[in-house]
């Protein structure tokens, strides 16, 4: 979350709650909304590292709120992040471990594991479909995120099929 907060602050100074709202507005309901506690913890770390600074703004009847600014060092760190190549997709291999190892132990047979997993993937696809239907058609970012998730699931299903063909 460090970099996304830095990127938002590079656009304009903001307080913690505004950052939470901005992330929610950008990614929509397609992405789990960040928890405010996590945002403050991350801001605290960024401040300690010298990437952001904060000033208190007085509010009548309420405790002061802190507004965060990005520093020159923060911009530098953000630029490094933007310019470095991004790691490719992580293959979630937990199921594959089960598939290879569980039959060796006699705990389960492969066919049952694969069938259960296929239904699970299809259930996820269904959820994503419903989510896409509930998403504002103007929110391209959220819709692309959903489409990306579906394409990953397609690859998972194809892999499952290959496993079913190849493993005895």
């Amino acid at each position: 979350m460090r970099q996304s907060l830095l990127a938002l602050l590079a656009k304009e100074p903001a307080h913690g709650y505004e950052l939470k709202q901005a992330l929610e507005a950008i990614f929509g309901s397609a992405y789990p909304s960040p928890n405010i506690g996590q945002i403050y913890v991350t801001l605290g770390r960024l401040e300690k590292d010298g990437y952001v600074r904060s000033v208190g703004v007085e509010q009548s009847n309420r405790p002061n709120k802190k507004v965060y600014y990005i520093t020159a060092a923060g911009r530098e760190a953000l630029l490094t992040w933007v310019e470095e190549p991004t790691e490719g997709p992580r293959v979630r291999d937990e199921f594959f471990m089960k598939l290879v190892l569980a039959p060796m132990t006699g705990l389960s047979d492969r066919m049952a594991l694969i069938n259960r997993q296929r239904r699970h993937y299809l259930g996820l696809i269904r959820d994503l479909d419903e989510l896409a239907e509930r998403t504002d058609p103007g929110n391209r970012v959220a819709l692309l995120l959903i489409e990306g998730a579906m394409l990953h699931l397609q690859a998972d299903l194809d892999w499952l099929e290959r496993c079913q063909e190849e493993l005895p």
Binding site: L122, L124, R126, D127, D129, E147, A149, H152, Q154, Q164
Partner: protein, 249 residues
Amino acid sequence: MTTAPVVRAVNLVKIYQSGRGLPVPAVRGVDLAVEPGEFVAIMGPSGSGKSTLVHLLGGLDTRTSGEIWLDGKRADTLSESGWAVLRRQKIGFVFQFFNLVSNMTVADNVELPALLGGASPRHARERREYLLGELGLTDRAAAAPAQLSGGEQQRVALARALANQPRLLLADEPTGNLDSRNTRDVLKLLSRVHRQGQTIVLVTHDARVAGLADRVVCLLDGEIVDDGAVTTRRRRPGGTAGDVVELRG
């Protein structure tokens, strides 16, 4: 009173002959009953017998042994012409390679099955206008199939299959040739007609298509190895893309 399954296969077997005369068992003892309104996705590796199964169910190929029942009536014992009549009345087909009539317009291709099924010209035209509209093809109605892209031809094939409001829609990889935007139009129409009660049996590799189904049947080497409901979300209030993709940064 219980209604009969729309389609039912009992110990269905299909054995082809290879070029050298060797037996090729493509479907090996399939039992399957599809209830009215169900949407069944058939999945499985290439060569597992999916196409053969739906061809048998629709009477486009003859079984080696076993039974096929349509709407409570035994169908596999019918003559070829008897099958053809039943098929025209009850079944809509969509194939991977859309076979449209090349010297007829898109509009006529879609209206033809309804007219053959005995619909009035006006009803056939209204149904055609509705279906082409749903598939974003209204302005292609006067075109010949050869003037359309593959994606457009496939959507016309789907419209044609649905023209008769068939008791059963059989489809063999209907989105196999489509890009994601064309696929989305097909998905929308499939899910709409399904909600209206259309019974669908559809072969697919496409996760989004299968995700619409109520039930998945998985074939391997000509046998059913899984048959059951698609698991819907567990305890969570609703899925998010975060269940699949973890964004970092």
